[in-house]
Symmetry: D3
């Protein structure tokens, strides 16, 4: 029966590969249970699906096109909202499945704590792994609101797993004195305060290394990205982040996992924050697709 | 391969029947090309799909449940935005297909002009047909902005087809002196100014008659429904509209087509307009499902 | 030179009579200098001019049409914003000029204090005058923020001029214990708490009396009118206010001056508050036009 | 040192009694961890403190004044956001302390789950207790999102404690078929669908009984209260809720605890939802103060 | 009769020259009928008239003052909204009239398609003409939504008229692979991706050439200009655009026509987008006025 | 009685020193009575107190922590809103008291006119004083809206007191031709148009001089700071302003008074403007604390 002049906007445009055939799997994780300031990142992936259609599939900066890659938008993960530990396990299991199927997991948060279980699932496969962390905030607290697992402790928890010399932090411009001391004076992580000027240099050292990439979108200046839980003035511009993608494209690192977190769409009625997150998703998907092609 | 803990919000919740099996077909028509005031009804169906999940499938007023009916959300119709005549034909063809397949067409606009081609497709099958028109505005102009086909002329165009004694208008509270004269003094249509108090009485006279129902959501007071092109103070409350549904449920009319138009979601940042449109869609779908059952 | 396919939206639609020929003069007074809560009523008249075009000139409730009356929109009054006393004098002078030219002054505020100088100018001509006051707030304080002249004292200042038995207050639902005592127990004014049910009865007693009408739009419930300085839940609906206009139309009072105050348009992004104020302006202009006709 | 021409807006206006001297203790509980739809009720109490100053201390409907009662605004409770069970215990402990000090606990949520621990603390003191529940939603699920403790299960959990004939639900207009069956057919709770018309009658039966009052603000129609997690069209008006307060005032029940929940202030940029919640807090505090006086 | 202490905000401030005396004619064209994403550019000119008064008439960057030029704000063009072809002809006729009267046409859109008929009217007089195109999008499609005339095809349609080597595109950062290929590889237009760094150089080559300037405001980064149909992150800053004006001022090109398009004011509740469009209108009017003076 | 698990957000976080012990006193002055464009700066200090808790006390740029300084948030000053002259005196008296108590006054406006009385109080103690003025607007008019004292004349009034060579203006990009002539050609003030590039150089010349610092937040570009009365495109970025703070920190000037003015929080629903103002307050407080320490 012919009904083909009707259409749905059910998936990210041009991310409609069958799961079995896909190289990259995009999935939403709408958890914001430990968020201490403005909540709402739970709505990020659905808001992004609605705006993604305003973009083109082609990137004139990267000179790559989404149509040329096999990407599957798997939808959103069912979560036991209200029980943090159970939710973390659900994210872990969901990501593990993708990793075990030899697909690249590209997670859309949610708050930053969702990175912890996703990273763990990737880490189990790629033990020798480095983390590139883009953020306004250190996320290096030992505890927050009496919880060890929190959006404010997530990188510390990853450091518990990886130890020194594995985590590279960029754009950081907020935290306690202790957190900056941990990174800058005790050198437990590499941290560049406020900027991304050393990024290319760092990437040169990670040739052929496995890399997990986590992007807290509040690394962007609130002028372009007000739709987030804790906007922090003094961030980087979109053009600077675009340069990050170009540098990754030229590099020889092995990307093995990735997430984009902390879009809280309802705090920006212009939708520009959501549109910006969408463009970042597109550019990043292209860079990952290209990275995977080059390693085949 | 097990990926079943992931899900999409791609269709109206509980409207996921296969097209072939469905009794009712819901489809979006995102056209607002003749809108003279605030545009944006093009986004109505997609905004509604995002909010529908906040509702339950059960209506405690109607005591009916969506799970008990076979409804297919067919998605949105592809339209040649920019060319009004071609768009009207596309809506006509899309609706005709549904009607010919012996399914009930339930269209979500768009501006009110979309009713014209949908009605025509229904009319071709059910020549002896009555129109129930809920609206704040008469829509009885002969011409608007130099166009015969316009959101402000749509009921006049239907009258061109049906003639006198076939169109019943409720809630009307805005129009030119000429339009009110046409309806109230010349009796070309039945019109109740501002209210719906005679609705039950009218319905009694339409026993076993074929009825097309068109609901311009601006019949509601702007206090509950600001998200529309031309809000008109002095409208009915949601509870009054709910009574309309109960009256239809008890009646013996034969519903043969229906539309809900003029939600412009971006003009209401609280999303209450969209949520209200969703609840109306649920109640109406239940009433239609029940009406079809009773006629089987 | 023909440039007549261009147009401006510079005046309230259909209020374009020459000043010399006009019976009713509409003018804006954008003062909000004593506002203690949310400011912004300064923008009321310009916001209303922009939205008025969404209305029709015909009122199906009143069965009157703006086209049939001679109304001049004179624009906005120039004010020495920052100096309350000078502004009050400017309003007084501006209104006096209109009154002296034997035209009906219809002022759009601004905060409620603007009523004081406008009323004074009208009072100088019509000494035997009654005031109908629609509002959520008593406005009967003796002093506010150390000022005798304030939006919270304006009706008390008018009482200073008129004394007992001249002021009728409707819809009032907020004030200090002392203010309610002043009105309800000491009977210095007639006050109906929260409602307008006695309005028709009161009007019957004012046959052939000169009446000044002041409408603080926050008499409306904040569900339909959030765009005001101090929204007060529990107000009347638009339909109830519409009844007020119908009652005035049927009455035999002599309207001699009028104002509509306290729209703060930027607090309602849906623009419904502004649209509602526009419809009230239309209905009121029609009622005044009709009232003037009947007295000719 | 004289600095008394400076002031803070740190507490609810006129709720500045010393804790030791207070009869009523108001406190905020900013938890929204199990919220399934729009979050943000965490900000309710702080948003309300900012808007409360726009009100008067006197209620012309109740003819009572806040100045006449000893009310202590204790601030907000510190919570281990992210760990639901720990948060519930913190609310329980905080409320218990107030109850044990023989003060009336008046809690401002947060989501509706916060009622459970507060109720428990009150129940431990007043075993023979009845619950008056105002809400749009049944909240009678056995489990939600895999959790027994949830905003959608809270009344079921209270029923687990109290059993039949103790819970009275008003205004309910959304839930699953099973939930309505539980209340309406199996009579486990008394439930009035959509309205509050039987409230006076019910209250007559609770003479001298201990009563806990829980108000989910979404009982109000979204036209006046859009700022909530799950707006549900068809609710009661503010005036109807005001009548509830007058009925309680006239009754002989023994109020022993109370909460107001589910204001999510950031979803209503007009602030009318927050203002409405403030007015309800004022009226309720007055009714409680009066109720306590009468029992002294 | 003296009414000169009243004023209207009916025209762009300081653009009140008589049409017959004016050198520059500003006019609004509120058409957005082929807009595929967010509509609303129809409101651009009226929104701008309301905000223009917040600016000064003097530009400290350009050191020029609006008071020194003869500019006529002619108002908005009447359009047969709903019929694209008729609207295009109405714009053509309106512009032609201005051009024939030897005045400089400065059009405010509206969507970008309005440039086509305006350009045609200018082209008929100045056959040897170059186009400077500032935009985020290529607008070089052959067809869009089944229409040859669309906001997405407008530059292609102009290329149909002018052919190669006449169109210079700046700031472009979105389009299909085919569109970039058309410009960058096949050299049908000159295109600078994302920037305006070569602008001065290009202008040097256009000495004494006739130039039509079309500015799609989405060339600006969405951080400063969210109020547009399709915001595209990575745009230029306002300061960069200001440099464009300074470069034009110093150049020896012959400006013969100009437009500013794609402000959709309702998508930016802060009004910053509208204010920015106003400042661009001021700077551009000054540059044009200066350019015309220098050529006298 | 233990109630210490409750807390208030009543003061700026970490600004809770006793007044007697404090070195720096922060106070709010909610006056916007001469504002000619968008009002609302009256709400700045209370909005900022609500958002300040989203920040950390530590600045990684300045490497200073609020916990290390004695700062007292004294609350807001009571003002006779509606009477400009009386308000100015109240601000003068309030500031004088702080200055006389040998504390550093750090005022949060309000509109820019509030600087005049605060400056006067400081000037009386420190006659040999320089003013650093950050702003988009010259504020050098002789009169505005018929008033000598206005937000648009405030720097001219200070110049009346100080004369030439004492006032340094940065970031200025709007004003009349006369104002720029006053500063740039007649050298009555030092003015840098649009930028802050000479700031370090200027500061070198003010070694050991008394300096009053006034920051009109609209110096920032509206992309990051839309929440102000008169947004002016082309401003500096937050990072550039951050550099100003670092330069002051390194300098040897004697800071003796400071204010931050013109945040109008309700015009930015994302709250980014308020958050940015908070971060500026933090950085400035740290710089001042450090400056005072160094001079001890």
């Amino acid at each position: 029966m012919k009904t083909n002049n009707f259409y749905y906007l059910d998936k990210f445009m041009a991310m409609d590969s069958e799961y079995d055939l896909a190289d990259i799997v995009v999935y939403g994780v709408g958890f914001d249970g430990t968020t201490s300031n403005r909540p709402g990142t739970r709505f990020a992936s659905s808001a992004m699906r609605g705006e993604f259609y305003g973009l083109e599939t082609y990137s004139p900066i990267l000179k790559l096109d989404l149509e040329d890659y096999k990407i599957c938008d798997l939808g959103d993960l069912e979560l036991s909202i209200g029980n943090t530990e159970r939710v973390l396990d659900e994210i872990y299991q969901g990501t593990k499945q993708i990793v075990q199927d030899n697909k690249f997991p590209m997670m859309i948060g949610g708050e930053h704590l969702v990175t912890l279980p996703a990273f763990k699932a990737v880490y189990e496969k790629y033990k020798d792994i480095y983390v590139l962390h883009f953020d306004a905030h250190t996320d290096l607290r030992e505890e927050y609101n009496n919880n060890k697992n929190s959006h404010a402790t997530v990188i510390k928890r990853i450091w518990d797993i990886l130890g020194d010399d594995k985590i590279f932090q960029f754009g950081i411009r907020s935290g306690t004195k202790e957190e900056f001391d941990f990174a800058l004076n005790k050198n437990h992580t590499y941290m560049e305060v406020g900027g991304i000027t050393t990024f290319e240099e760092i990437l040169d050292k990670l040739n052929n290394k496995n890399v997990y990439l986590t992007i807290d979108l509040d690394i962007l200046d609130p002028s372009i990205f007000p739709g987030t839980g804790t906007p922090e003035p003094g961030g980087i511009t979109y053009k600077e982040l675009e340069k990050v993608f170009s540098i990754i494209k030229k590099s020889s690192i092995n990307l093995v996992g990735c997430d984009i977190v902390e879009l809280s769409p309802d705090y920006d009625n212009t939708n520009v924050s959501t549109i910006t997150a969408c463009k970042i998703l597109r550019e990043l998907s292209l860079v990952i697709g290209d990275n995977l092609e080059n390693r085949k």
